[in-house]
């Protein structure tokens, strides 16, 4: 077995959660890598929806932006942006929404807006994008982020999107048709919400990470399932496909694009 990085471990673990035929609303970065890995391995019928309006995109390399041309070229349909949010997301047609964030709290609420005070932020982050409504309307969401006391915080600096609010699954999600964050994939393992309270607990760990390390990387007293399962390490085939994908992507993004100087069409 070849060695692998925490990013590869997370990507593979996230990919395994997706099933063939699943309609998945993906963001850029690790979620996009995980969804495309799943599509190239066990879930060839996975439907990728990017918020740029590309439905059923089948890119050969990972897009740098959410609206790279290849997404449109390989999509089943390209629809305007108000439509993707109104008819497709709010319309309840998304099985899984993938989200990342800078901070998460014990109830799976996310911050991608600011670190520090909103009016005078220490760090201004990009902001909400599609996240608040993905968190509400996708039938479930998967969250991917690395675990550290800075990202797993007792109290968010800003609540950009809702998980289970202040706790209590039913009450918190009264105004939300989706089931909320059902899986949080970190570099320690997999967290899932307790059915009654929505509080995240570590249900599985990576082979090389002890549960104690996950507790130390969490800014609140993390609950750990007993027994905690162990996630099988990335297999040869998963790593090969993922590394091929990243290598193709690196080559594609490095390739110089001729400047559009002179007369229009190439």
């Amino acid at each position: 077995m070849s060695a692998f990085s925490p990013d590869e471990m997370m990507t593979v673990a996230a990919a395994r959660l997706l099933w063939d035929g699943c309609v998945c609303f993906v963001g850029i970065g690790l979620p996009s890598a995980a969804a495309n890995l799943a599509r190239h391995t066990h879930a060839p019928g996975l439907v990728l929806v990017y918020e740029s309006g590309t439905i059923g995109a089948r890119p050969s390399v990972l897009p740098l932006s959410i609206g790279d041309g290849e997404l449109a070229e390989t999509a089943t349909a390209v629809v305007p942006l108000p439509e993707i949010f109104a008819y497709w997301l709010q319309g309840g047609r998304i099985d899984v929404g993938f989200l990342g964030a800078a901070q998460i709290d014990r109830f799976g609420n996310l911050n991608s807006t600011v670190i520090g005070d909103y009016a005078r932020p220490k760090t201004r982050l990009p902001g909400a994008g599609g996240a608040p409504e993905i968190a509400t309307h996708a039938k479930q969401t998967f969250v991917v982020l690395k675990q550290s006391p800075r990202s797993f915080v007792p109290r968010l600096d800003f609540r950009t999107s809702m998980g289970f609010g202040d706790g209590g699954v039913g009450r918190a999600r009264l105004r939300a048709p989706g089931q909320g964050p059902q899986a949080v994939i970190t570099d320690c393992g997999l967290l899932k919400p307790e059915p009654a309270t929505g509080e995240l607990q570590l249900v599985a760990r990576f082979e090389n990470v002890e549960a104690e390390a996950a507790r130390k990387a969490t800014g609140w007293a993390l609950k750990v399932a007993d027994p905690v399962e162990v996630i099988a390490p990335p297999g040869e085939e998963e790593l090969r496909v993922l590394r091929d994908l990243h290598e193709r992507t690196r080559r594609a993004h490095r390739r110089p694009v001729p400047l559009p100087v002179g007369k229009g069409r190439p």
Binding site: L81, P121, S161
Partner: protein
């Protein structure tokens, strides 16, 4: 619908203090128009855009903006917009008021503007802190079910500027590929300026194509390469390498200012701007 130079279009239609939307979701971003606004030194603008992207990072860093309405302000796939961050975090070069939405909220606000409705409606913002920092996000009770539904006031830019693949000589405009919220932003505006890759005799638009008829278009300017470093589907690809390079240029005030002075303020128009870039075939002309 007149066909005019971009210089003339901006001079005639864009004024200090206006609310301006340069739309385009990753694709067809009207960079050439943004640069011309910068060259003509417009100030005090309220910039509206779902994804500010590099074009607003440049306008904000150059001190053209007083306010920004947006829903996601990053460099896609790369990281921060450093000039936007510097304005919000440190008030450099000027304080910037931010009016912040989600994508779904802003799409609804544009659609309301295009429909001349007072507000847009969505099942949105549930359980978030956004309504606490943006008092434009409110709610209304559904008269049929009693459900509380989120509302956002209609967006009605003074001027919307788009980039498109082509226009015909009458001024009908065709866009294809990822079209974002361009149609809504176009029809929500009082004035609509469009730059295109080429002007043709016949648009050759398929039925149901995304066409803006000439009588909603204020004027068209032919600016080949006008969306670079974003892209124009069928003409040129997104320059992902430049988006990555921008991170280094914009991180530092001095580097940013030098880049703007050299490539935007130091060039008379977009063709000269493109020729001035280090990656140009001639290797970067002196202006």
């Amino acid at each position: 619908m007149p066909l005019v130079s971009l210089k003339e279009a901006i001079a005639r239609h864009v004024r200090d203090g206006q609310t301006l939307a340069l739309e385009g979701f990753t694709h067809l971003i009207p960079f050439a128009a943004g640069h011309e606004i910068l060259r003509q030194g417009r100030r005090d603008l309220h910039l509206v855009r779902m994804t500010p992207d590099l074009v607003y990072d440049q306008l904000i860093g150059a001190g053209c903006a007083r306010a920004l309405t947006f829903s996601w302000g990053g460099n896609p796939g790369v990281g921060s917009l450093h000039r936007l961050r510097d304005a919000v975090e440190n008030g450099w070069p000027a304080p910037l008021a931010v009016i912040e939405h989600s994508h779904a909220g802003m799409a609804a606000a544009y659609a309301a503007g295009a429909s001349r409705l007072p507000f847009g409606l969505l099942r949105g913002y549930a359980g978030t802190d956004l309504p606490a920092v943006n008092d434009q996000i409110r709610g209304v009770t559904c008269p049929y079910t009693g459900e509380l539904v989120a509302t956002v006031p209609a967006l009605r830019p003074d001027v919307t500027i788009l980039h498109a693949q082509k226009a015909d000589r009458q001024g009908n405009v065709l866009l294809r590929g990822i079209v974002g919220a361009q149609r809504e932003a176009a029809l929500a505006a009082t004035t609509l300026l469009v730059t295109v890759e080429e002007v043709v005799d016949d648009l050759d638009a398929p039925m149901n194509a995304f066409v803006l008829p000439h009588w909603v278009v204020t004027c068209v300017s032919c600016v080949p390469g006008g969306a670079w470093p974003s892209y124009a589907h069928g003409y040129y690809a997104r320059d992902n390498a430049f988006y990555q390079e921008w991170d280094g240029i914009a991180r530092d005030r001095a580097t940013f200012t030098a880049w703007i002075e050299r490539h935007v303020l130091g060039t008379p128009d977009h063709a000269a701007f493109l020729r001035s870039l280090p990656s140009a075939p001639a290797g970067g002309d002196e202006p």
